[in-house]
């Protein structure tokens, strides 16, 4: 049987705009992936804990609050502490280019802004999980 890709989609921080996260979750579902959706207002600890229990192949974070520079590194650090440093992390939201660059340097696999096609995200996740390589920037 083909191994199912399991992805955690989480919204860290305090903004309540979850449409983007839902659109991505739905697109991944339609691409045959199993999406664990955590809902709004998650702390980095909750996200890392869920990623561990669910043994996911990838983590997607949706952030529109502007707090990405503090939330994302914290999630990466906790994943590392849990021995899940090889799990690729994807970030979507309103992320200025300079911040996106820094996030990629700290170990994020890819960053998506408004208007990014979901087909690209699907392809990138597949690549990262199966080929163990993040998309070339």
């Amino acid at each position: 049987m083909e191994r199912k890709i399991r992805v955690l989609i989480a919204k860290p921080g305090l903004d309540g705009h979850d449409r983007g996260a839902k659109v991505v979750a739905r697109a991944l579902r339609d691409a045959g992936m199993e999406v664990i959706y955590t809902g709004l207002r998650q702390t980095a600890e909750m996200i890392a804990d869920a990623a561990l229990q669910e043994d996911v192949d990838a983590v997607g974070l949706s952030i529109l609050s502007g707090a990405h520079m503090s939330l994302v590194p914290r999630v990466l650090e906790l994943l590392r502490q849990n021995g899940q440093e090889t799990v690729p992390v994807f970030v979507g939201g309103i992320i200025p280019e300079a911040d996106a660059k820094k996030l990629l340097e700290t170990g994020v696999c890819a960053v998506y802004g408004p208007g990014a096609p979901t087909s690209k995200t699907i392809e990138d996740i597949r690549q990262a999980v199966e080929g163990k390589a993040c998309p070339a920037q």
């Binding site: 049987m1 991944l28 992936m33 199993e34 600890e45 869920a50 229990q53 669910e54 043994d55």
Partner: protein, 343 residues
């Protein structure tokens, strides 16, 4: 590889959550590693109280599970807190095979508690409200030392009754306004309940729903009700014993999103556990479950062996004849699996 998996299993038995999560993945994907892990862990199983929670979509199953797990973790008085594992099953898409597993959304009160482990599971085409490996997941949690394993089924309709063969205690969750009293006497999901829950009991119509369900239970033992009402002259017990001797299925109102809204339900679950232990029903259900697992595995194994020995060409040939209606299914089986076949 074998030593690697033994290492994982040892870590799991020592409470390592990452190892537990990885073993579950192997089991879910039915890998040789996963099967080996189940073999090793089997001797440690048979202790956990398996609680099944089922009911229609949107009746509040996840919220109830959240509250019940919380009460296990924060018991009243001097009772020790129990370790709780939750298996939350959601449906896979029949078209893409993908799934959205959203039960964790309602379980945020349990986040960060090392005594709780939540695992979401996609049904992956299995019918009956569970996934193919839900039972095996319960075994892994059992072996890992969890005292209680709560299994939340797919939002179930009328016929998803698989949970009854897995759980020691089955909660069927209803809400006000789900149907009239004829819905309540239909066969199926209501029959498997050890406890009937009317959730969202703060909504209008809750009392009516409780009454309809109690009336349904009374219909199951009309003689008993008659004696209670007219001969003995006493008021009848609200819950009348159903087919299982000695246990009266209670109808319990609950409000999963209100503090204290599930305490009565929690107490009924404890009562049912006591009943299982005292009456010997625990052993009966255990034996039932193991027998079923054995028979299912024998069937799957025989089928796999048969697939190996049956010549592909012959199979295609017979299949063609069946399609043309030259052979019935039973005649085809006689050809493909004659009585002298050694499997």
């Amino acid at each position: 590889m074998s030593s690697a998996i033994n290492n994982q299993v040892n870590l799991l038995l020592n409470g390592d959550r990452a190892a537990l999560a990885r073993v579950l993945t192997e089991v879910e994907n039915d890998t040789p590693t996963g099967r080996h892990a189940l073999d090793v862990l089997f001797a440690q199983t048979g202790r956990a109280h398996v609680l099944g929670v089922t009911g229609a979509p949107g009746t509040g199953k996840s919220s109830l599970v959240n509250q019940l797990a919380y009460l296990y973790r924060h018991p009243a008085g001097s009772e020790p807190a129990q370790r709780v594992a939750i298996i939350a099953v959601d449906p896979s898409s029949p078209f893409s095979g993908g799934a959205i597993l959203g039960d964790r959304i309602r379980m945020r009160d349990l986040a960060g508690d090392p005594g709780v482990f939540i695992r979401s599971m996609a049904s992956r085409g299995a019918m009956g409200g569970l996934a193919h490996k839900t039972l095996e997941f319960a075994q892994v949690f059992d072996a890992a030392g969890f005292d209680v394993v709560i299994v939340e089924t797919v939002g179930a309709g009328q016929a998803e009754v698989e949970i009854a063969s897995l759980a020691h205690t089955v909660l069927v969750v209803e809400t006000p306004g789900l149907g009239d009293d004829i819905q309540a006497i239909k066969a199926g999901i209501l029959e498997i309940a050890d406890i009937l829950v009317v959730n969202k009991a703060d909504l209008p119509g809750a009392e009516k729903a409780v009454h309809a369900l109690r009336a349904m239970l009374e219909l199951a033992r009309p003689g008993c009700m008659y004696a209670g009402e007219h001969v003995l002259g006493t008021s009848i017990e609200p819950a009348i014993a159903n087919q299982q001797n000695g246990w009266s299925v209670p109808v319990v109102p609950a409000i999963a999103v209100q503090p204290g809204g599930t305490e009565q339900l929690f107490q009924e679950v404890q009562k049912h556990l006591d009943y299982l232990r005292v009456s010997g029903e625990w052993q009966l259900r255990e034996q039932d479950r193991l027998q079923r697992m054995l028979f299912e595995t024998v069937r799957d194994t025989l089928e796999a062996r048969w697939r190996v020995i049956v010549p592909e060409q012959k199979l295609q040939h017979v299949l063609e004849d069946v399609k043309k209606r030259h052979l019935s299914i039973h005649e085809a089986v006689q050809i493909l699996l004659p009585n002298e076949t050694k499997l």
